[in-house]
Symmetry: C2
DNA sequence: GGATAAGTGGAGACCCCCATCCGTTTGCAG
DNA sequence: CTGCAAACGGATGGGGGTCTCCACTTATCC
């Protein structure tokens, strides 16, 4: 409960919990994160903790000491991917053409999602409610909302596009990405292309009217159990 | 192997294994199927066998005696839903307008899928490789292929629509349907509407060219593990 | 170089699920 | 009514996963 560590310069810990670790401990921690990243990508979110420990060449105790819960581990592993999504969106905000910006942002987020089974599950699971990535997720969502506004103002995005449609996109894409493979990634790209095409404003003929935007909120839809 | 049962009139067993059952056994069997249907829909494919037995008011032994494997149970439970998909497609084949036929077939199949978490998983999982529902599935696929041909010939379906795009649709829809709820079903309807819109041939302007159709085969993509 | 606390790995307690075995009950035919 | 095979359900063994405890090792500081 005392002071964190009065000698530690603020901001020196790139990530939580790395401060004051002994050299060997830090090495193991990194090795665990590395291995866990691979295993989660390949096998999904429910890969046994023991398997991660074994592949990392450490005992389970070491794993649990460093990451008390599975969530803590997963959060740490995917923090950078969440950040990657966020900055992809923010990069897009700098692009001149509103539609291109919208399109590339969507494409990039979906590509990240399709490439990693674990991240996909993490992204689309009740987990991320307690992930502490709310900040990143909000950055992504705020960015996408702004991109949406611009694309609509420019007349390139259909007017009845709703914020919930991002959720639609993410979850549909997650269905494609259950088993990440080259084929699945290609399929994801094709799905996204189809949907972006459907989102365009400049289509001929009266499309069949859309069903009402479902009040679809990831936080609601995926509530645990 | 001996004769099945020489006294049984052929075709009298609506489903496999119901012939010659004692009255109480038959009652329990039906109760199990009923309860299993509900539980699978709600909780998904991995609901514990014990839970099914308990809800049905029978012992696990009874459950296992009637359905030796989980697959046998699931197959029996969802046989009618698979059949429903098949006949929805075949009904559509009778419709006069090719596009309407295509559209309603897709909508109905996706609606069935979105309404039942267990069926959704069953539909989109390695399971159905050994389900013995290959017949039904082939009926569905053959029907959809024919509907595709007609819709293309009529100039209503875009020429670069590929057979693999059905898989795309099913898997995307499965992502929406992880947690069946009114909201999820509405979302599914909206997704399908978007995609059908994207599949239409009569769109203005050169859409961005589609990524190549991924060689996406459910049987391949969802291979166990 | 030695004291010390941080770090370690593996054994094992606990829990959940699957699937089978077996003593008891019960529908049904004669 | 009676006998028996069919049916029943709970106990049980086996497997796998999570997480903790503890005796041993090792980096680090003086």
């Amino acid at each position: 409960m005392g002071a964190e560590d009065s000698r530690m310069p603020p901001g020196s810990a790139a990530r939580s919990g790395t401060a004051g670790l002994r050299a060997d401990a830090l090495h193991n921690r990194n090795r665990i994160l590395e291995v866990a990243g691979d295993l989660l990508a390949e096998r999904g979110l429910d890969v046994p903790m023991a398997a991660i420990a074994r592949h990392a060449g450490v005992g389970v105790a070491t794993l649990y000491r460093r990451f008390p819960t599975r969530q803590a581990l997963v959060r740490e592993v995917f923090a950078d991917r969440f950040a990657a999504c966020a900055s992809a969106v923010e990069d897009a905000l700098a692009a001149p053409d509103p539609w291109t910006a919208f399109r590339t942002a969507v494409e990039q987020v979906c590509a990240v999602q399709a490439g990693d089974r674990g991240f996909n599950s993490a992204f689309v699971s009740a987990y991320f409610q307690e992930f502490g990535v709310g900040g990143e997720l909000d950055r992504v969502m705020r960015g996408l909302t702004e991109l949406t506004r611009r694309a609509k103002d420019a007349g390139r995005l259909r007017a009845d596009f709703a914020a919930e449609d991002f959720t639609l996109l993410v979850m549909a894409n997650s269905g494609i990405s259950v088993q990440p493979s080259e084929a699945a990634q290609a399929a994801s790209r094709r799905l996204v292309a189809y949907l972006l095409d459907a989102f365009r404003a400049d289509r001929a003929g009266p499309a069949d009217p859309l069903p009402p935007p479902a009040p679809l909120d990831l936080y609601d839809v995926l509530r645990p159990r």
